[in-house]
């Protein structure tokens, strides 16, 4: 293996990391808001809203992300005059915004199921206790339901975040020069697929490892009730054992 070449490749690929992270975090942030809405629609009990959310999740989870990206980036070009009339063409002309839109719509479908699972895992007793204390509506949601649901949903949301970092690689197909895009360009220029692959793989593994660690830290921070209480009185602890 040629270490000089690999070092050079590493530096070049590193320049794509900001865009990769930008795509992943922007779409996850927008997607979370949309996912929350979808989850509330599913749980609203209103038939129309419920079916809309179900259909949405089925469509966006059941078809490949690349098809969704092409549909937005190339497909909407078919309606260019209309979009220009509405002043939306400047948005749909940019591969960056098309990628963000596709990733957002896609992650919203997956995340809405995660959030729904979290919301449904909130024990009835907690809600009843809160109602007994006189909480209702938004206060109940903000103080009781939301914190418990977030705690439950966090591990699955962490996996979704990693999937999204991986999914941003598809943006390279519509000319976005993030890590995979630069890697593909380097491979087709140098024909040294293995070296470039190893370096790009290492970068993705570092990114995903860091994200996993951060999520684990947040999980730890959010669940003080599961941690062992600090040993304040060692004498008493000896009695418990």
């Amino acid at each position: 293996m040629d270490f000089e070449f690999m070092q050079d490749t590493f530096l070049r690929l590193l320049s794509g990391v900001p865009l990769t992270l930008n795509l992943a975090f922007t779409s996850v942030a927008f997607g979370a808001v949309f996912a929350m809405l979808l989850a509330l629609m599913r749980m609203s009990g209103v038939k129309v809203l419920d079916w809309f959310a179900r259909a949405y999740v089925f469509v966006f989870r059941g078809s490949p992300l690349l098809v969704q990206i092409f549909l937005i980036y190339y497909g909407l070009g078919q309606f260019r005059p209309t979009l220009q009339e509405w002043g939306l063409w400047t948005f749909f002309r940019e591969p960056y915004w098309c990628a963000i839109l596709a990733l957002t719509l896609n992650t919203a479908a997956y995340a809405s199921e995660i959030i729904r699972g979290g919301l449904q895992s909130v024990p009835h007793q907690q809600v009843e206790a809160a109602r007994a204390c006189g909480m209702s509506g938004f206060l109940l949601f903000r103080r009781i339901v939301f914190p418990i649901a977030v705690r439950q949903a966090l591990p699955a949301y962490g996996s979704e975040l990693i999937l999204m970092v991986k999914a941003t690689s598809l943006a390279s197909i519509i000319t976005m020069m993030e890590v995979t895009g630069i890697a593909a360009k380097l491979i087709s220029q140098t024909f040294r697929a293995v070296e470039v692959f190893v370096v790009a793989g290492v970068i993705y593994l570092i990114l995903n490892f860091t994200i996993t660690r951060i999520i684990m830290a947040i999980e730890w921070w959010l669940s003080p009730h599961l941690r062992r209480p600090p040993a304040v009185k060692p004498a008493l602890e000896a009695v418990h054992v």
């Binding site: 089925f58 469509v59 059941g62 078809s63 490949p64 992300l65 690349l66 098809v67 969704q68 092409f70 549909l71 190339y74 497909g75 909407l76 070009g77 078919q78 309606f79 990693i162 991986k166 999914a167 941003t168 690689s169 598809l170 390279s172 197909i173 995979t180 890697a183 593909a184 491979i187 087709s188 024909f191 040294r192 697929a193 293995v194 692959f197 790009a200 793989g201 993705y204 593994l205 995903n208 490892f209």
Partner: protein, 240 residues
Amino acid sequence: MQHLSYFELVGFGPQGWGLALLTATGMTLAVALCGFLAGSVLGTFVAWAKLSGGLVARSVADGYTTILRGIPDLLVIYLFYFGGSAALGAIASLFGEDGFIGVPAFLTGALAIGIVSGAYQAEVFRGAFQVVSRGEIEAARSVGMHRWLMFRRIIAPQVLRYAIPGLGNTWQLVLKESALISVTGLVELLRQSHIAAGSTRRPFDFYVTAAILYLLITWVSTYLFQRAETHSMRGMRRAS
């Protein structure tokens, strides 16, 4: 050029792309299925290594599943496509041939899918094996079954039963991943839609059609996996 209606465009008439799209759907299914089966074989061996391998086999298996699940599938496909051509080119240059040699897109596609889905399937099999009760394995051993016989009669049927839901999820992943193979030029569903979209300038119509066909495959395979699950669980008592 007269304006065709949507159904003329994707239908089977003289100017319709119906047949091409259907053939391409068949290609998508073929490449996904081959990749999935390759992944099953690989996944079985990796799960075996994880469960009862030595230190080396276990670390290799752990490294494989961690790495392949942590990097984008598209990179793996590029590795196989360009790396395969480079390797073939190197071999060919030994025989005095020069220039770019393309590897068959179907083979690279199926292999790439197999390698990636093998990592997911290994985890599915490992999880399913851990549900098989220890008592059954001890009982099999006590009646004198050898490893292969025990695998065939006791372990494999039960692991497969518990693995069906996980395998269903992996199959959906594989199906969606097969769309990425279009970057190597294999004429599967997405590639064919791309070609049709380019030649008719009706990209929206064709990508919507592709999405509908993918959803149809997803829907049918979800149904089939559910059937398989109820069938395999028919003799089991449910805790409910």
